[in-house]
Structure formats: structure tokens, C-alpha cells
Subunit: 330 residues, 2 copies
Amino acid sequence: MCHYQKFMSEIKYLQQLIHDKLLQVPFPSHPASLYDPIRYMLSIGGKRMRPLLVLMGCDLYKGNIDKAINPALAVEVFHNFTLLHDDIMDNAPVRRSKPTVHAKWNSNIAILSGDAMFVKAIQLLMQTDETKITALTEIFTATALEVCEGQQLDMDFESRTDVSLDDYLEMIQLKTAVLLGCSLKMGAIIAGASEEDCNYIYTAGCDLGIAFQLQDDLLDLYGDEQQFGKLPGGDVVANKKTYLLLKALELSNEKQKAEIVLIMQGGLTAEEKVQRMKTVFNELNIAELTIEKMEFYYKSAMDLIDALHVEPSRKQQLIQLSEGLKVRVT
Amino acid sequence: MCHYQKFMSEIKYLQQLIHDKLLQVPFPSHPASLYDPIRYMLSIGGKRMRPLLVLMGCDLYKGNIDKAINPALAVEVFHNFTLLHDDIMDNAPVRRSKPTVHAKWNSNIAILSGDAMFVKAIQLLMQTDETKITALTEIFTATALEVCEGQQLDMDFESRTDVSLDDYLEMIQLKTAVLLGCSLKMGAIIAGASEEDCNYIYTAGCDLGIAFQLQDDLLDLYGDEQQFGKLPGGDVVANKKTYLLLKALELSNEKQKAEIVLIMQGGLTAEEKVQRMKTVFNELNIAELTIEKMEFYYKSAMDLIDALHVEPSRKQQLIQLSEGLKVRVT
């Protein structure tokens, strides 16, 4: 078995562990209208990346995975709570090919089930080594507040016309990246890593988070339709302020800017919007520039992982996972 | 200064302390659209009964109020979070004579600000004696889940036609009463009270909570308009399943039941509804029966307070506060 296969089979084992334990999280049966939506939300899947990072952060420092599993589940339940409430706010009918909770039940039930999920996340977080609870709760709640801030900034962006690239990077740092950093750091805390290493691994997680959000932005337009199972350009059609669009606005000349504004103003079909926006983006080398930025954050994460005070062989799992998440843009 | 005045001035002091400390809870300025609604919600007042109970539970056992203040604020912030989300679900335009957050901003901002308040509540809860954090978080999160359950049951009741008095008592126990029990218990935990006393004071708080909810139900119809500043019978007009209505449905003969159903079916003016429902209630002695039930829970609370292992003189503050909350129905 080659190295890659070995790490991947370890990762598969951890993912299976998370899957099994998540199904075992006890929720009462009454009232069903509160707890059925939670069970539903947790059952519709996802890559379980965040709890995996908690376990890997712990394993990196030879920590006891048994002590990390409940905090890992806490992060996953919290993440699903934010998705549930985000879906209400975004009025999204579908998540992972299934009806969203507010679509399947209603908004009130979705609000309240989300609230209860957050409570459950805190309960799971506390079910670990008592000496670690304060440090875990500190990073977890600070991160939770930041995720709220990120979602609020994202909503604010919809009506703002002055969003800069820095604003955007701040938003994705808060909305997406910090929870990955938090996950790795929580694992490291549980394993008793030094404060310096906890901070390094936190930043590494954040940088990976930004890198993969930039990749998502890129794949939305440049991804392979067959591979991702959706029409490319959803963000363009929705006039979403992605890294691509903001970079294009920054670099465009007067004529290109006018074209972008015109595309966004409406009146064009979805297909026309995507086609014409792609032409502007291609003129400005937006795909290459986004990949460059993504590589910058990815390299920063790798440098930080390199600096961790752990024998290099133990780091391979995390490096392989990160590599595996990178998608070649066709 | 008579005893009553002495206790009341102590209570006023604690209320002022809560008021001052609540204003000092730090919230960032950015993003304003997330944190302004929180500051607004916390500024529009209320009796601050729950944090007061935390401090009084602590003081009862000669605990250090300084260690109880942050957990007390946690309960108040949590309570306001539930009100904020409840207001969205109930589509309520006004709270305490001010526009609700979702009316002043919008529903999405109200959902997200509420979420952030809940995170803040957990942060405040942790800012106390480290040895108490596990016990505090246990009762706090168990209670928080119950409050969600209570709100869900209350929403379920709207469309149900088979709500029993027991269902109703379960609902108000969860939605309202347990948080009062939790508040007193948290104070007792911080002061190092015995497990037995913690459980007694918890149940005492719950029983007081049910008593005062029954009183609220009663005052809605039988309260003095001038004293409460609103037209009596709002619950009747809204067809709300209160203790009064459910008791009346239980005791009514065929003719009275038909009259109740007719009143609720619509077609009458608000004034007619209130007048005719009051006539049925009066025939069935509903006010007296509600007062009786209320007194039952009140006495249960007093018996439990009596049983606490504390010198009787220290209990007077809590007893006086409870007495002060009782309203004579005119």
C-alpha cells in the first residue's frame, strides 16, 4: 500500500467514525416538530470536513481520539446549524439535492430547530476532558461569533456597491475559514499541543479555508459541469460578489467595467450573462489570478504546517487531505 | 425602615447592578448590522427578573455576587435571544412599546443577531469560577433545550384542537418556568449550595414560573386596563389556548362548549368575543379556579423555599420578591 493509500484509508476510518457517532447523538422524540428537522439535517450528509480536522489535529499530537470525538461532533452540529439558518436567510430551496428544512417544514421550525442544534453543539463540546473545556469553549464561541459576523457581512454585500477585495477576504475569513482553523486548533488543544503550535495550526486551517473558498469561487464558473453536476456560472447569474468579480472590477478598464455593469443590470439570459462575463474575465486573466491567490494561501498553510513541532511523518495525513481537496481546473 | 423596604432596596440595588453591567457587556461595532440590533434589544428593558434570581440564589447561600454577575447576564442575554426569535415566529411588531428587531431591521438580521446573542450568553456563562463551569453549563444548556421545546409546543398548539390542561402545563413549564428554576439554581451552584438545596430551589423557581404564567393568563382577561395599559382579552381575541380557555373547555357542558366554539370561529367583533367568552368563563368560575391553581404552585414554591437549609432570615428577600410579583385581581 502506498503512502497516499495509507493516509486515505486512515481518513476514511475517521470519517466513518464521525458518521457513526453523529447518528448516535441522542435527540428526544418529543416534540417531533423540533427534533425531526435536526435529525433530517444531520442525516443529509456532507464531507464532514470540520470534525475530521478536529480528529486530525488531535491525532497529529498523539492525542486520544476518544476525547476529541464529542468536540468534533460539536463542530459538525454547529456547522449544520449555521447552514440551516443560512438557508432560511438565503431562501434556498435545496441543499445537497434535498429540500432544505424551512422548505420541507417551515421557517419558524427551521429557526427553532437551528437554535436547538446550537444548544446541542455546546453540550457535545463539554463532553470531553474537563481540563480542556475552558480553552475549547473560548475558541469555539469566539469562532461562532465570527461566523455570524461573516454571514452578516455576506448579506450586507448584496446591497453594497463598494465591496473591495479586502472586504471580501475578511468576509470569507469569518464566514468560512475560521471554523476550519478552529477545528484543527480544538484537536490540538485536546491533545495538549503547545500554545504556539495551537496558533500555527489555527492559522493554517484558516488559510486552507480561504484557499478552498477561492477554489469554490473559481469552480463555480470554470468547473467541469459533468464533474460538479451543476451548470457553471451560478454566481454570475445571481450577481454574487465573488473574488472573481471583485478582482475583475478592480482591474477592468472603463469599457470592461461598463460591460460588467451592463451584464449585472439584467435583461440578458442566464447563458448570455455567463458567456459575456467569462469573456471579460478571460481578457483580465481572472482565473489565473484567482489560482495565484489561492496558491498563496495554500502555501502559507503548508509553511505553517511545516513549522509545527511534530515529526514530519505525522503531518503527512493533513498534507494529503489538503492536496486531495485541490481540484484541477480544466 | 421596615423589613419590606429593606428587602426592596436590596433588590433595587441588585437590579441596578444588573442594569449597569448589562450595558457594559462589550459588543464590537463592526458589523453594525449584526451588533446594533443586539444593543437595541438589550436596551429596551424588562424587569431583569432572571438575572435577579441568579444573584438572589447566590446571595441566599452567602455566595460572592461578583462571581454570579456574568452567569446572571448570560441568562438575561439568553432570555432576550429567545424573545427576539419568538418575535419573528409570532410576527410580533412591538415589544415593550418598541418595534421588534425584525420589524425595525428585517427577519434575516433578527435571526442572525439572535444567534450571536446566544453565543454571547455562552461566553458570559463561562466568565466565572472555573470549578463551577461544568455544573452551570449543564443546567443552562439543558434548560435552553427545554425552552426551545416549550416554544415548539406552543407553536404546535396553534393548529392542534386536542390540547389538554396537562399539555398546557407541560408547555409553560418548558417555555417559561424552567428558566426561572435554572436562574435560582445557577446562583445556588455558584455559592456552593448542596445538591439537595440546588434541586429544591430549582423546583421552587419552576413552580413560581408556572404560578406567574397562570397569573399572566388571568390578568390578560381580568386585569385592570389602566394598570396594565392594554385592552383586556388579547388572548381571547387571538384564540390563544390559555389555562382559562382549556379549563373552560374541560368543564363546559354541551351548550357552553358550543358557545366557546362559536366565539372562536370568528364573525364577532373583538369586543363581542371578549364579552361573550367572559360570560362563559364566569359561569364556570374560571377566574377562581385559575387563582386556585396558581396558589397551589405558589404554595409549593414557598414550601420548597421553607425546606432550604438556610437561616430563615436570609430567605425573606426571595419570599418578598415573590409576594411582590403577585397581583391582586380586581
